[in-house]
Symmetry: C2
Subunit: 110 residues, 2 copies
DNA sequence: ACATAAAATTCTACTTTGTAGATAAAACAC
DNA sequence: GTGTTTTATCTACAAAGTAGAATTTTATGT
């Protein structure tokens, strides 16, 4: 009974899009996540995620103009929808509340 | 090449354990998440997650004492390990940084 | 124009997480 | 013992995460 939830990586992708706005496309998103999270990410992982996020209505996309660079396909730029922003803020708020209710001792495990 | 990452639901479970410390066991965790996130959660979903989190070293567990004049199996109480706490704080910090770099406009999509 | 290289997206296949429902175990009351 | 309550475990499948290969589109050199 789900498909309305935001996976861990999906959330990272959304945040990267927010940071890169309005120039968020596959490669840039991949590089942004690698730089920020310091973890290896493949382009196909990002694209699979982007596709699912768009299907769920969290994102929207449009092809950009042909660039002045060496060659290559047109970039597909992604934007966060109002629904996506709302969802993103909800999970943020939930975590903040929970963190606020966590005592120091709870994190001192061995 | 992974098994060292924290899934979306897994993170929620960890936070709930932090909040409930030192009385975090299956049922209580399930109820805490339902109350906080307002989403339906089954006990088996929580236990599957707990099991995986323990395997990954994020959690530790021990069976509680019996005889609280109650009935039922002994509770299995979960605690966050130092490694788990570190991981939890890392993802928190990463998201905070990204949120800090997101412009207002980026979230005003249609 | 044609061949080649570059930049990007899409496809295919597999692993790990997420989810639900059914089953089993342990403690209590009688 | 039998039955009831509370909890954990098992089985099976769907969704999200991941990697590598293949494909498409655009630009440049000749």
């Amino acid at each position: 009974m789900k498909g309305s939830n935001l996976g861990e990586f999906e959330e990272l992708v959304m945040l990267a899009i927010g940071v890169l706005y309005p120039d968020a496309y596959g490669v840039a998103i991949k590089d942004e996540i690698i730089a920020r999270a310091g973890r290896s990410v493949t382009l196909s992982a990002v694209h699979a995620s982007l596709h699912r996020l768009e299907e769920k209505g969290f994102l929207q996309s449009e092809f950009g103009e042909a660039s002045q660079k060496r060659g290559g396909k047109r970039k597909k730029n992604f934007y966060i929808t109002a629904f996506g922003a709302k969802t993103l803020e909800e999970v943020k708020s939930l975590r903040e509340q929970m963190w606020g209710d966590i005592g120091k001792v709870a994190l001192q495990g061995n």
